[in-house]
């Protein structure tokens, strides 16, 4: 591996990211899969970095799932997206920050379409006006939330309590970075580092002391794909994709996977459980599995947030071995205690995958 070669490419794929004043668009599924992540993003930006972020309750789905499942036509999607921009405009913001990769991809696609085919923009304006009497401006700056964390990765590093380092050996943790397909595969120039060697997550890992693993199936999809997981019988495609990636990364003995997509961490996490139950295979050391985190979770860990506040108990692959490696202080008993110390109840024990 010639790192200078990658740096050359990273130089070619830079993007402008707004400094402050973000209009925040939540992700439908992230709120359900790993709700701690979005909360952590807001906490980091507002409390740690003192940025102005507007979390708008009127915001709806971007229709991405339906659009990619061929249920909603593009025109409808454009109008919904236009409504989001209208909400942003009326709230007085110009920098749009979606939390979901698919939303990010969709916003990018639609804005590009409007540029390429101005008549569709006019049509959308008309549709939106007819439907809601709203008007909108295209955002000055569109960035994914991981772009924002990337932008402030060094500030986070300055405030860090922990590093992505094995505390006992001093070795950097080996980390697999996985970007969502819709982040830059459609528009390489809209992603930091492009599509082939994306840097958005690798940059965070670099800054926070970890070392990034480049393994052969790095580019492969996690298998999430809306149509695959939505239909039960099709989930075989999805799990096979994830398995291919696990098999490919296994020789590198990764300590964790960091992702920036709603689906990827979820499926990397759940499929490890499913694979262990279906075929008895586990990845990672001692049957622990390889924890798959969102970048907010990793940032939160680095900043010393309580893992249970980050929502790490929602992962099926146990996070404790990694926390121990990093030397993070946590109270194991609190794992399944909710707010106000209510006992949430322990999940059923997996057959093969280790459980703490």
């Amino acid at each position: 591996m010639i790192i200078e070669g990658k740096e050359r490419i990273w130089k070619d794929y830079q993007k402008d990211i707004a400094e402050d004043n973000y209009y925040y668009a939540r992700s439908c599924i992230r709120q359900n899969f790993f709700p701690g992540s979005e909360a952590t993003f807001l906490r980091i930006l507002i409390s740690e970095l003192g940025k102005d972020v507007y979390d708008d309750p009127n915001h709806t789905t971007c229709t991405g799932i339906a659009y990619h499942s061929d249920i909603v036509p593009l025109e409808t999607t454009m109008t919904v997206v236009a409504r989001h921009f209208a909400l942003m405009t009326s709230a007085g913001y110009k920098n749009f920050v979606p939390s979901c990769i698919t939303s990010f991809g969709l916003y990018t696609e639609i804005i590009e379409t409007w540029y390429e085919f101005p008549e569709t923009l006019e049509k959308t304006r008309e549709n939106l006006y007819k439907a809601t009497r709203r008007e909108f401006e295209i955002p000055d700056n569109l960035a994914h939330t991981s772009d924002i964390i990337f932008k402030y990765r060094n500030e986070i590093e300055k405030k860090a309590k922990y590093k992505l380092v094995n505390k006992k050996t001093g070795e950097p943790l080996k980390i697999v970075e996985h970007i969502g397909c819709h982040y830059s595969k459609m528009f390489p120039h809209k992603g930091i580092g492009g599509a082939e060697y994306p840097y958005v997550l690798a940059g965070m890992v670099d800054s926070w002391g970890g070392s990034v693993i480049d393994y052969p199936e790095r580019r492969h999809c996690c298998g999430f794909g809306f149509r695959q997981y939505a239909v039960k019988a099709n989930r075989g495609y999805s799990i096979s994709c994830s398995k291919k990636k696990f098999d490919s990364m296994a020789p590198y003995k990764p300590d964790m996977i960091i992702t920036n997509c709603p689906g990827c961490p979820y499926f990397f996490d759940r499929w490890q459980y499913a694979l262990s139950e279906m075929e008895g295979i586990t990845y990672g050391e001692n049957g622990n599995g390889i924890p798959a985190f969102t970048y907010e979770e990793v940032a939160g860990l680095v900043l010393g947030y309580d893992p249970w506040d980050l929502g790490l108990q929602l992962h099926q692959v146990a996070c404790e071995p990694v926390l121990d490696k990093m030397g993070i202080d946590y109270i194991p008993e609190n794992k399944y205690k909710g707010l106000n110390n209510i006992d949430l109840g322990k999940p059923e024990k997996a057959t093969h995958l280790k459980f703490y």
Partner: protein, 111 residues
């Protein structure tokens, strides 16, 4: 083992490194001309047996080169060795000897 209502798909990918090319090597050793096949398909198109079955010598040679021995075993059974392919081949591949040697190789390695 639990059943979640879906199965893990076998990869359709040919993993060349895992494939066993010993049968191809066996055949190429005694009939070098097989190496010059360019997969044009002339042989398959003229084949007497292909009228009735899925037999395609082009595909058989391809499978052989890729070490997909299991796939070709069945297919080659219907060849009647009539030799039309030998006459049609633009590269002068000695197709009948190729076929004989594939069969010999299958016996030799007990595939």
């Amino acid at each position: 083992m639990k059943n979640f209502g879906y199965t893990i798909q076998n990869d359709r990918q040919i993993d060349y490194d895992k494939n066993d090319t010993k049968l191809y090597d066996f055949v190429a050793e005694s009939e070098k001309s097989i190496r010059t096949c360019i997969f044009c398909g002339t042989c398959s198109a003229t084949c007497t047996a292909s009228k009735f079955t899925d037999l395609s010598l082009r595909r058989i040679i391809l499978y052989l080169k890729r070490g997909l021995n299991e796939s070709l075993k069945k297919e080659i059974e219907s060849c009647m060795l009539c030799g039309k392919c030998n006459l049609a081949c633009p590269r002068g591949v000695n197709t009948r000897n190729v076929i004989l040697n594939i069969k010999r190789g299958i016996e030799h390695y007990e595939l």
